[in-house]
């Protein structure tokens, strides 16, 4: 086809070359193919990002309808905000807790479900199913279960244990939001790990067995290195996701008790939408953007050290 075109369009001597060369046509087609996605990204990612930065340089009083340029004032407020340290602390605890628990549980489930047993597909579907459930519905149900007189404490009472007031005590509230989030999303990482595990060549295990390597050593020396690209991918997705947690906090604890579960996203929501400090809220979202970008970049750099091979 391309050859036919070329033959057809060969310019005659003396006439200027036509504008629509093959290369130009190809790149036009390419641009048209990516246009829907590109327009989407510009409209829903880049423009809002630019607007948020613009808002962060202003004091925006919604009710009085004033929008005053204040330069770096909101950024100086970040340094003076006495609550922010506690908020960043809660954000760190949440993210670290979530990533460690999520990845280790996902890997454990993937290894367990990577067996050739009858009915294993049912279990895989079962563990994956929370991923497709509506996040808010999932969280509301957990909210009921975690009440003082809710389902979980009811079950604990049957075995003679008086459960804590999960969502109203500092430590248990944080544990609760982490666990609810892990149970919701662990299935996704589990499926990614499962796919990676099934990609590890069986001959390697066979050779290791002949050499007399025990199961744990096989896992450490063969499985882990070979699935390391997936570990990197899942850890990036999970960390970025953990920094954006909002619905669970809004539904389960509203940031309490005290500020113990007020993570950065929830805090910026409060500042912008509840207290009407849209300028300061925008500044906090720029801070969050920088944190996510730096962490993602750092992890990407680390791949050279921890990732055994890349496709």
């Amino acid at each position: 086809m391309a050859v036919a075109h070329q033959h057809h369009e060969t310019p005659k001597a003396g006439t200027p070359p036509p504008f629509w060369t093959i290369a130009r046509r190809d790149s036009l087609a390419g641009f048209l193919f990516i246009a829907p996605q590109l327009i989407g990204i510009i409209t829903f990612v880049l423009v809002p990002l630019g607007l948020v930065f613009w808002y962060s340089l202003h004091e925006w009083n919604v009710l009085a309808n004033t929008f005053t340029f204040t330069g770096s004032q909101n950024y100086r407020m970040v340094l003076e905000d006495t609550n922010l340290l506690e908020v960043l602390g809660a954000t760190t605890i949440f993210s670290v807790g979530l990533v460690v628990l999520n990845l280790s549980l996902a890997l454990l489930l993937a290894v367990l479900l990577n067996q050739k047993l009858a009915g294993i597909a049912v279990f895989r579907a079962l563990f994956f199913s929370p991923v497709v459930v509506s996040l808010v519905a999932w969280t509301i149900v957990w909210g009921f279960l975690l009440q003082k007189n809710g389902g979980i404490n009811g079950m604990l009472l049957m075995v003679g244990i008086e459960g804590p007031n999960w969502l109203r005590e500092d430590v248990t509230a944080m544990i609760s939001v982490i666990v609810v989030q892990v149970f919701k999303n662990v299935g996704l990482n589990m499926i990614l790990f499962l796919a990676a595990l099934q990609g590890v060549p069986k001959e390697l295990y066979e050779a290791a067995r002949i050499d007399g390597a025990p199961a744990f050593k096989q896992f450490r020396r063969i499985t882990l290195p070979l699935i390391s690209p997936t570990i990197l991918l899942t850890s990036i997705i999970t960390i970025v996701g953990s920094l954006q947690v909002f619905a669970q906090i809004a539904v389960l604890t509203q940031g309490g008790p005290g500020l113990s579960t007020t993570v950065l996203v929830y805090y910026l929501y409060q500042q912008a939408f509840q207290f009407d400090y849209f300028g300061y809220g925008s500044t906090l979202s720029i801070l969050l953007f920088v944190i996510v970008a730096v962490l993602t970049f750092a992890q990407w750099q680390m791949r050279k050290r921890i990732v055994f091979y890349e496709n």
């Binding site: 948020v52 309808n65 975690l146 207290f275 979202s285």
Partner: protein
């Protein structure tokens, strides 16, 4: 991270589309009022009023948008920020100062005074105080609703305790005795006393209790914190004791619904009478709030209707507010939202519109409550103060708590905000 900016942008874009739509239909005026009720009976009445207005103004259509009660003000300001402000909005008494002082609202006095038969003068100055700035009324307080105690006599009798009616008859309807009854019911397995909408988050609803001690969160002019003063410390210690020692009130994280028949008493506004169960009714009563150490008292919750200054049809919207709250419609509204109009504050009128309540309940709870009640506390920048107090009060809502120490902390934190 981009969730909120994206949302804001989308709201803004939708707002532009909305304005475009309005411009196309010539002369037709579509007004939108945001409200926090989704009650069918309320909506039917509002729609009837809108239909009545349409008879006189065929080109004007009014729609009501119900926003969730808990996040109402947040949702409203988000709409305003997104360039999609409603034409009219209900406003809580707690955030009245923010709206009235900001200049977001269209002044209503001239429109109301010009409306035929409106008679603005009969609305008491006490009721309009919070909604007035420099002599102009910026939102009309359509609801002046006293807080009262709903009682489930079946549950109380089953626990072998004294009912509020018995205590009122013998002259000892005090907080001490009310909590004794609630405690007896609480220990029998049902819930004792529920301060509705408090939920260990919206502490301002505890005003219905601590006013009995003469306590208030800040001084009259709003500049000084009085949370650490003795009346407040005493009142909150009493509440703490009622929750954790006497088991008279559901603890944090315990869900008990009075209107499902699960509790002895609940403090709420009389408009909630519509929640009383029709299928499995129980023997209920409505009584004034008990006497506290500082004597008898009453508390009023207010709600205002304001017209957004930024709306294209602010004048028409103000005319609709004048129609909605004229004497005739105010009488209809008062079955749910007691009016501050003097002509409507008599037992005869209120009995007609509140068939659920007895003559005695109307006189003692509604008329007396409106006449003597203080309005719920409010302040400019209320949302931030509310949140700051809430997160600190969490330290009180556990069995071992340092009530006076926590209150000192709160004053240290909200002090600078009050002075602003």
């Amino acid at each position: 991270m981009l969730y909120h900016p994206t949302l804001k942008f989308t709201v803004f874009a939708l707002g532009l589309l909305g304005l475009g739509g309005i411009a196309q239909a010539q002369d037709a005026v579509n007004l939108r009022m945001t409200i926090w009720s989704a009650n069918e009976a309320h909506l039917k009445l509002f729609n009837d009023i809108a239909a009545g207005f349409k008879k006189e103004h065929p080109n004007v259509t009014v729609a009501y948008e119900s926003l969730p009660f808990d996040t109402y003000t947040t949702a409203l300001t988000t709409q305003i920020a997104g360039g999609n402000a409603p034409d009219m909005a209900w406003i809580f008494e707690t955030s009245a100062y923010d709206f009235v002082k900001s200049g977001a609202l269209y002044p209503l006095t001239d429109t109301l005074k010009a409306a035929k038969g409106y008679n603005l003068e009969e609305v008491s100055a006490g009721a309009t105080e919070r909604w007035t700035q420099d002599g102009a009324l910026y939102a009309y307080p359509f609801s002046t609703s006293p807080f009262a105690m709903f009682v489930n006599n079946d549950v109380i009798k089953a626990a072998g305790a004294k009912t509020p009616a018995e205590m009122i008859a013998s002259g000892d309807w005090t907080w001490e005795n009310a909590i004794a009854t609630a405690s007896a019911v609480g220990k029998s397995g049902k819930g004792g006393l529920v301060v509705r909408d408090f939920n260990y988050q919206n502490w301002q609803y505890l005003t219905s209790v601590w006013n009995g001690w003469g306590a208030s969160p800040w001084s009259e002019e709003g500049k000084t914190c009085s949370m650490a003063d003795k009346p407040m410390a005493d009142a909150l210690s009493f509440i703490h004791d009622a929750i954790f020692t006497k088991k008279a009130m559901p603890g944090p994280g315990e869900m008990v619904d009075f209107f499902a028949g699960d509790a002895a008493m609940t403090i709420t506004q009389i408009s909630r009478a519509s929640l009383l169960p029709k299928d499995k009714p129980f023997s209920w009563d409505l009584v004034p709030l008990p006497k506290g150490p500082a004597g008898e008292y009453a508390l009023i919750g207010q709600a205002g209707i304001g017209v957004m200054q930024s709306g294209k049809n602010a004048k028409t919207a103000a005319e609709f507010v004048a129609y909605m709250t004229n004497p005739e419609n105010s009488a209809k509204l008062s079955q749910f939202f007691p009016s501050a109009r003097k002509s409507l504050l008599n037992a005869e009128v209120l009995k007609k519109t509140n068939p659920l309540l007895s003559q005695e309940q109307i006189e003692k709870v509604v008329i007396n409550g409106i006449a003597t009640g203080k309005v719920m506390p409010g302040h400019s920048g209320f949302a931030q103060i509310q949140q700051m107090v809430r997160s600190n009060l969490d330290a009180i809502w556990r069995p071992q708590a340092d009530v006076p120490g926590t209150l000192q902390n709160i004053c240290g934190q909200i002090g600078p905000l009050l002075k602003r």
